[in-house]
Structures are given as structure tokens and as C-alpha cells.
């Protein structure tokens, strides 16, 4: 996470995939107990990953990472249950260690259609996100390819990601 906060993509990707396995096991365990589906657990896993990403500035590098991730995971679970109007009374008190007690690497498809949402973004945002995030070009390369300045590229990627996350959040809300 510390490397990820500095912008080290490889370390950050490694961390996210490790956490996704933990999160998936956590959500599957909690949701199965109240008779929810694995798709819901996958949606929540993705939502928690997005929250971790979007709120990574709230992580204090001098503090342990696990309680921070656990707090986000639990918050997203409670928020999800509240929205789907289920009782929260059967969610037992738990420790932060519960999160890493099991792994689950069997990812399944969740309900989000990222390509479809991407298509709804303005042209400039969509293009810069596709090039930087999906095709993995550097900011400088994208800047020269699109005839934009580097800071312009960064700004549209940042805004585009924000818009993307907002559309995911909107999609969840009516459930």
C-alpha cells in the first residue's frame, strides 16, 4: 500500500489482487450466512476495491493496513445490507483478522458492465482512460498521441475515473 500510494503500479496491483481474494472470502462468508448469492459478494468485492482505490488517501502509512481495509469492507457490507433492507442483527462482532483468515481466488463475473459505462463518458475522458488504464500506455505517450498536454491527460483520467465510480454507485442505489 505504501508503494501503491507513491504510485508503484506493480506493487499496487499485487496488493489489490491479494485483497480481492480476502474480500471475496469475507463477503461470501457473511452473505452466505443470510442466504445471499455469490454475485452479490462479487459486486461488493468490486465495490470495496473501488472504495479502497478512491479513498486510498485516507490510509495513514504509519498505521497497520489491515484494520483500515477491514473497516472499509465492513462499512460497505453494512451499507449494502441497509440498502437491500436486510436485518443487520445477524452480523456478529468480528476482529480485523477475520478478513485474512481465508482466501478465495475464484473470481466470477459481477453485474457491472464497465465497457458500457465507459461509453457513456465524454469522448476525451473515455479515450484517455482506455489508453492509460486499459491499454497501459504512459501518460506521456497518451499526451502525444491525443495532442493533449500531460496534465490535461491526468485531469481527464482523474475526472473520468470519478465519473465511472459515480455511475457504479448510481447503478447500485436503486436495488
Amino acid at each position: 500500500m505504501r508503494a501503491g500510494l507513491r504510485g508503484d503500479a506493480a506493487a499496487y496491483r499485487f496488493l489489490l489482487s491479494r485483497l480481492s481474494a480476502n474480500l471475496r472470502a469475507y463477503y461470501k462468508g457473511r452473505l452466505a450466512r443470510i442466504g445471499r448469492t455469490a454475485t452479490e459478494a462479487e459486486d461488493l468485492t468490486q465495490e470495496a476495491l473501488m472504495a479502497i482505490h478512491a479513498r486510498r488517501h485516507t490510509y495513514d502509512p504509519s498505521a497497520p493496513l489491515l484494520p483500515w481495509v477491514h473497516a472499509i469492507a465492513r462499512y460497505k457490507l453494512i451499507d449494502h445490507l441497509r440498502q437491500t433492507r436486510a436485518s443487520m442483527s445477524d452480523l456478529p462482532i468480528e476482529n480485523a483478522e477475520d478478513l485474512v483468515a481465508q482466501d478465495d481466488h475464484a473470481a466470477i463475473e459481477s453485474a457491472y458492465d464497465v465497457k458500457g459505462m465507459l461509453n457513456q463518458l465524454p469522448d476525451k475522458m473515455r479515450r484517455t482512460i482506455q489508453l492509460t488504464k486499459l491499454e497501459g500506455l504512459s501518460v506521456a505517450e497518451v499526451a502525444s498521441r491525443c495532442n493533449m498536454s500531460e496534465s490535461d491527460v491526468k485531469v481527464s483520467v482523474h475526472r473520468g475515473m470519478k465519473a465511472l465510480m459515480a455511475s457504479v454507485a448510481r447503478k447500485r442505489a436503486p436495488q
Binding site: G7, D8, R13, I72, K133, L134, K154
Partner: protein
């Protein structure tokens, strides 16, 4: 979307972020709230006219200092509550201590005065203005601080909301203390303490709605 794709999406060309931003933007929001509260008092209400005399300056400074004693730990707790999991290991109940101290001081002050003076000491002639002004002035600081906390990720929304309300109430009371002429300790305890507690309660109720992310 598959979760692997999402991870790719999030971790390709990941932008560095500054973790110190959390505390900084809340500090800035609180400072902005103080400026707004002072602005309202100086330009809309007007500071009390006798502020240059020692007899008025000392009670005004006492009210400001006593509120600041509440504001400083409340801000520290708020910054901790704004982080995920910050509610664990933050002794938020300790914030009641300054309230209790002021209440004890008020009771001592009342006990040393004859019973016939009690009504005047508590009600003064400004109690209604005080009870209305502090919550009203607190609205803008409350909105600014709420905005700052929304950029973070509180996971106990009711408690975080309560502390937003508490901080906004203190900020407002500090500004209002420059206008208010109710100088007795019991007046301060009842009307400042009461209105700040009211702001805290409002924040506690509004937190889950306003701070959700």
C-alpha cells in the same frame, strides 16, 4: 466486469496520492468555519460595544478559551473519525469532560450566590438571542466541515456526524462570544453548552445521510 479487469483498471498508471491531505483539508475547513463565524459576528451582529473595557474583555476571553478547550480535542477526534476504522481506539466519550467541568463551575457559582440571583444569572436578558444565534451561525461551518469530511471515509457515520456538529457548534460559539453580553458562568454553561450539545445532536442525526459514501 470481472474483478481481475477491475484490478487492472485501478492499478494501471496509478496516480500517487498524499495521505496528509486528510488532516489538512479538515483543518482548513475548520479555519474557514471560524472565519465565517467571525465574519457574521463582526458584520451582521456587531461585536459587543464594551469590548475595550477589562470587565467585558475577561468574560469574553473566558468564553472563547473554554470553548476552544472543547474545540481542540473535538477536532482531533474528528480527524481520527474521518478515517476508516478511526472509531476504534478513539475515546470519544472523553469529550464530555469539558462539559462536565463547566457544569460543575456553574453549580459552584450558583451555590455561592443567593437564590434570588439565580434566575438573572441563568437567563440574563440575552438567552433567546444566544439560543438562536449559535445554531444559526453554525450552519455554514457545519456545511463546510461536512464537505471536508465527505472527501475522507468515515465508517461510523453517526459519530463522525456528531463531531462535525460539535466542532461547528464550538466554532460558532467562539464567534458569538464576541457579541454576547451574558457573562455569568451559569449562563455560559446552560446556553453555550446547550446549543453546542444541540448542534452535536443534529450532526449525529444528519451524519448517516450527509456523510454516506
Amino acid at each position: 466486469m470481472r474483478t481481475d479487469e477491475l484490478i487492472e483498471l485501478l492499478s494501471t498508471n496509478v496516480e500517487p496520492v498524499d495521505h496528509r491531505q486528510t488532516a489538512r483539508s479538515i483543518h482548513i475547513a475548520i479555519a474557514a468555519g471560524v472565519i465565517v463565524a467571525l465574519g457574521v459576528v463582526f458584520f451582521a451582529l456587531g461585536p459587543r460595544t464594551d469590548l475595550t473595557s477589562v470587565g467585558a474583555l475577561i468574560p469574553a476571553l473566558f468564553k472563547i478559551a473554554a470553548t476552544a478547550v472543547l474545540l481542540i480535542p473535538a477536532s482531533i477526534f474528528l480527524i481520527r473519525l474521518a478515517r476508516p476504522g478511526g472509531e476504534h481506539g478513539t475515546p470519544t466519550a472523553l469529550i464530555a469532560l469539558p462539559f462536565i467541568v463547566i457544569m460543575v463551575l456553574a453549580v459552584i457559582s450558583l451555590a455561592s450566590a443567593p437564590g434570588s440571583h439565580w434566575k438573572g444569572a441563568i437567563l440574563s436578558d440575552k438567552w433567546l438571542e444566544c439560543a438562536i444565534s449559535i445554531p444559526l451561525i453554525a450552519i455554514v461551518p457545519f456545511a463546510v466541515i461536512t464537505w471536508a469530511v465527505r472527501q475522507m471515509a468515515p465508517t461510523d457515520l453517526a459519530r463522525a456526524g456528531a463531531f462535525v456538529g460539535l466542532v461547528a457548534g464550538c466554532v460558532s460559539a467562539i464567534g458569538y462570544a464576541l457579541h454576547c453580553t451574558g457573562d455569568s458562568v451559569p449562563f455560559f454553561a446552560v446556553w453555550y453548552g446547550g446549543t453546542i450539545a444541540l448542534c452535536t445532536f443534529a450532526g449525529w442525526k444528519l451524519g448517516p445521510k450527509l456523510l454516506r459514501w
